[in-house]
Symmetry: C2
Subunit: 310 residues, 2 copies
């Protein structure tokens, strides 16, 4: 099993886009800065979507510019299409990610594109990325969303996911990740699907899992992913964002609990848990009353707990 | 990995003993009956402790007598000592469990017995069990509590746990279980400790894990246990009981989420999830305002979800 793991904080993007209120730009900056100072090395800071659709993300360009000034931080943005990718490249992101829904029904409903239109869009972005000078060329990856099942279609066949992962790689992306958008995944499925996709596209082309804790299985799914060689996990501080279709149910896996689990297992995250726990105050103050999840923040660290030496 | 798992519902004992209010005897009976009807095959229904110490458990004899009338149900009681074991045997329990704290400080504080006094007590009970006629002889097991760390001592050495597990087996118990009383366990530790104890006392002498979800790692620890051949998991409906030292933090792992995870993984529990979810109403009505935990009850089952064919 891997000795160290990258945690990619997605709260400022995936968390905030599920919160109705718009977090003030200054608060976003304070959050990102504090979390980077706690040792988080990768943060998805926003999304280059039209601000009419997601006003919460309207300041993404300013946030990216700010995050780029922080040392030792990989700045990630979500892009929904070529237009978003052009803006992300102009702002100099380190990494761009495009969601590609494995359920065609979901894809059509969500972005009005079927699978072949999505592959064409991904190829157009990959071609644009390839044209950038090497020094400023962002890492471009595809998040295979609804990979573990869809609220409209139900289960999605493994073969379909493998085929679409191959198509994305052929379109020129650097790597793919698997996303449990709906919180449907279970550990056996995570093991099976990670193994199948890695076998098809190469062991080093699937490194990231984006998991939700909708049914409480988030960290159990992390364990299954670790055992299959996954080295990057998305997570959200305080599990921010909840779950749109299940009030009271958590959305993203909680960064604090994930860091505790990994460090307790002897897997280095490079993150200082005490500092990380204090970052919650920034979010709580900026979004009063917004529910923050996580068990470790309530329970505290075990007596005698030691983090892994970096 | 195992194809089927036994879930031992401990809510009527471990859950209720952490709730200040006393649940009415009739409500306990309704709960136990409904959960057995949902397919739960083992329930820890109470504890033979002095009712002065735990008034919540004062009706344990009546509850055992009632539970014994339910078909296909193994009726378990906790016994703190020889006196409790005598009462449990008189009531005809199918299985008795005694907690044996791996932290000597915790043992002395909790039951005023050091490790050698506990081993003597366990031996006295095992001798009493051996004298019973075979047809009515209960299964007697030891729960190795605070095995993953203690709130007073901090970490407990693996070697100490292995040595005390061997001592319990030598005293004549049928098997031992590992208990994460404090919610300190992590998946790597579960794997390591299960393997060490099994190696020392025999692969078939450690079958049960009692896990808490205090820091959100409960189901992740289940995955680690499954991979090491554990076949019985304790769990509490609605995670009832909370956690005494961390208000708002969950105690026992939640039966509903555990059943969902196992069935989704293709591991049969014999439990009907829809029926199980309805049992929450009985508990909620009997203990108004008591927090019930669990993610699956809020989120519901995934579209297209199918339980494992029994």
């Amino acid at each position: 099993m891997t000795q160290s793991v990258t945690i990619s904080e997605v709260g400022p993007r995936d968390g905030l886009q599920s919160v109705d209120r718009v977090m003030a730009t200054a608060a976003k900056k304070a959050w990102i800065k504090a979390e980077a100072e706690a040792g988080v090395g990768e943060i998805e800071v926003g999304s280059f979507v039209p601000s009419k659709l997601l006003p919460q993300m309207a300041d993404t360009a300013e946030i990216v510019a700010f995050a780029k000034t922080i040392a030792n931080l990989d700045v990630v943005a979500l892009v929904p299409n070529l237009k978003g990718a052009e803006r992300a490249i102009a702002e100099g992101v380190d990494k761009m990610s495009i969601p590609f829904s494995m359920s065609e029904t979901h894809s059509i409903n969500n972005v009005r594109k079927d699978h072949s239109a999505m592959i064409a869009e991904i190829k157009a972005i990959a071609d644009l990325v390839a044209k950038q000078p090497e020094a400023s060329r962002p890492h471009f990856e595809v998040g295979l969303s609804t990979a573990f099942g869809c609220t409209m279609e139900g289960p999605v066949a493994d073969d379909q996911i493998v085929r679409l992962a191959e198509a994305a790689m052929n379109a020129g992306v650097a790597e793919v990740g698997l996303s449990d958008t709906t919180g449907y995944a279970n550990p056996a499925q995570v093991s099976r699907l990670v193994r199948k996709v890695k076998r098809a596209i190469g062991d080093d082309k699937l490194n990231t899992l984006h998991l939700h804790n909708t049914r409480g299985l988030g960290l159990a799914n992390v364990v299954a992913g670790l055992e299959e060689g996954i080295t990057t996990f998305d997570a959200s501080l305080g599990g921010l964002g909840g779950c749109p279709f299940a009030p009271g149910a958590s959305g993203n896996i909680v960064t604090e609990d994930l860091v505790f689990m990994l460090e307790a297992m002897g897997i280095s995250t490079g993150i200082d848990l005490d500092k990380l726990l204090k970052v919650r105050d920034i979010v709580a103050e900026a979004l009063p009353g917004e529910p923050l999840y996580g068990f470790t923040p309530d329970a505290g660290l075990p007596l005698g707990f030691q983090k892994v030496a970096a």
